[in-house]
């Protein structure tokens, strides 16, 4: 039983993102006024204050940084060690995720990764990332 793991309380900002994950689509926002992409979801563009609409991201990204978590928060200790990463989506925004299916020696800043949706506790579907098929070392 791991029912106390943190889970998102969906609201008007975040619901389309979490619904998108359930549909295996990585939904981010796009500014109608300045054409920049935005994550996390919000109600005004942080670049220009303009209105935002939703767009499906490609799911391709590059690792900006990562940490291998050994001493995990209490609800996550059964998963440790695991890799929490920040990835830069090819559309621009940065997103926190976990990297999976990545051997220790391949783990590095700049690694090309792609989204993979997996079910998680609390009836969530979460956007994990894994090394892209095109990344060095893929398929070995």
């Amino acid at each position: 039983m791991e029912t106390t793991r943190p889970y998102p309380i969906a609201d008007g900002d975040s619901r389309p993102f979490w619904d998108g994950c359930r549909d295996r689509k990585l939904m981010i926002q796009w500014c109608v006024a300045c054409a920049k992409f935005v994550f996390y979801p919000r109600s005004v563009c942080p670049h220009c204050g303009g209105p935002l609409t939703w767009a499906r991201a490609s799911g391709r990204a590059a690792v900006y940084s990562y940490t291998v978590v050994h001493n995990a928060p209490p609800d996550f200790q059964s998963d440790a060690p695991y890799v929490v990463a920040l990835v830069d989506l090819e559309e621009g925004p940065r997103m926190m995720t976990r990297l999976i299916d990545c051997e220790r020696e391949r783990l590095q800043v700049g690694l090309a990764v792609e989204v993979v949706f997996l079910p998680a506790e609390n009836d969530l579907v979460l956007p994990f990332f894994r090394p892209a098929a095109s990344a060095p070392g893929a398929g070995q």
Partner: protein, 382 residues
């Protein structure tokens, strides 16, 4: 040496370390406040400004004032995490310059060790921008600092041994401070050989978890006649925050010290070479390296080399965190007030065995959140 509108005239800690289950945050703050007033030679009835921040309550300034019987004419509960108290010093100085108060009391207290209230993550439903991080099992705050460390290492080749230099040097200062929680000397091998918490940060790259409190008395220039000790002038101050979540930090190797530091130094009219002693918030070893770069003590990427060879240790040419820091002296949840207390003592020549000879100008710097906020103060004695 220029003077200023306001000066630190009294400082004190409460009991530190592990104070036991019968002590409250308010008790620790009251103990420190009374001691700091005695240090200044002032009375509770002199205080007309109250500033505080807390991990556990949203109105600590109001509660502290009530507990001590103070009816405040200036109040500030700004909470930007561990940097709060250095920012409070700037706010107190501005309030004094504007005539809103004459004697300001800044306090902090925490019983997080005895109450075992410290946590590394959230449970249950999470709202707002935090929800996109907490679902991953992100340990808070260390995971964010680990991400910054990985980025710095990848960009600049910074090593775990260079991070460890800070922990080793800071412990040497703590060994000379009877109030420090840890006194046993450690080696670089001890640090890099201690267990990983979140790579690349080891247990000994992390600050302590202790109880403790502190108080700082700030007085207007025209109230100094009543004060017992030489004033420690607030020559310059600056503050900033650049993000809340680590995912929103524009560049994980540049902290908001890059905004707060130049403001404080320009206001004080000093350059880096003028700083005799630096008290740099050390929640983690990486916090110090990034802050030194963002404050401009060295160029981007050069902080690992800057701290190498025990340069920040006793006898080194960049004396830093001279009370033993959050890494080895105390770290009761938020550390900022302790940077001010030690900076003031160094400038008064009261630091005993760890006194930096001839210190006239000190820089105190707080960092809060996940490298989110920063506040810098430049202090000086005539």
């Amino acid at each position: 040496m220029k003077t200023a509108a306001a000066a630190i005239v009294g400082v004190a800690e409460s009991d530190l370390g592990e104070v036991g289950p019968d002590r409250s945050e308010l008790q620790l703050q009251a103990q420190a406040a009374v001691a700091a007033l005695a240090d200044a030679g002032l009375e509770l009835s002199d205080v007309d400004g109250v500033l505080s921040a807390s991990v556990t309550t949203s109105t600590p300034n109001v509660q502290v004032a009530d507990y001590l019987g103070i009816q405040a004419g200036f109040t500030d509960g700004t909470n930007i995490g561990g940097a709060s108290f250095v920012s409070h010093l700037g706010h107190a100085s501005m309030a004094i310059a504007a005539g809103h108060c004459k004697v300001a009391l800044i306090t902090y207290g925490s019983t997080q060790r005895s109450s075992r209230s410290q946590s590394r993550g959230r449970s249950g439903g999470v709202r707002g921008s935090e929800q996109y991080e907490q679902v991953w099992g992100m340990p808070t705050p260390i995971g964010a600092y680990a991400l910054a460390a990985t980025r710095h290492m990848s960009l600049y080749g910074t090593t775990s041994e260079q991070l460890a230099e800070v922990a080793v040097a800071t412990r040497k200062w703590a060994a000379m401070n009877p109030k420090a929680f840890k006194h046993d000397l450690i080696t670089i091998d001890d640090v890099v050989g201690s267990p990983f918490v979140a790579e690349p940060l080891h247990r000994l790259d992390c600050c302590l978890v202790t109880d403790g409190g502190g108080a700082v008395i700030v007085a207007a220039a025209d109230r100094l006649a009543a004060v017992r000790k030489p004033p420690v002038w607030v020559l310059g101050h600056g503050e900033s925050h650049t993000h809340d979540r680590i995912s929103s930090m524009p560049d994980l190797t540049v902290t908001p010290a890059a905004i707060s530091g130049p403001k404080a130094m320009a206001m004080a009219g000093v350059t880096h070479d003028d700083i005799d002693v630096a008290e740099i918030y050390d929640s983690f070893t990486i916090t110090v390296l990034l802050t030194l770069e963002s404050l401009g003590f060295c160029k981007p990427g050069e902080s690992g080399a800057f701290v190498s060879g025990q340069r920040t240790a006793p006898g080194g040419d960049f004396p830093m965190n001279t009370q033993g820091g959050g890494l080895s002296y105390c770290h009761p949840g938020m550390f900022g007030i302790f940077t001010l207390i030690e900076a003031a003592r160094q400038l008064r020549g009261e630091s005993g065995a760890r006194q930096v000879a001839g210190a006239r100008i000190a820089l105190a710097h707080g960092t809060g959140g996940v490298l989110s906020s920063a506040a810098t103060a430049v202090l000086g004695v005539t």
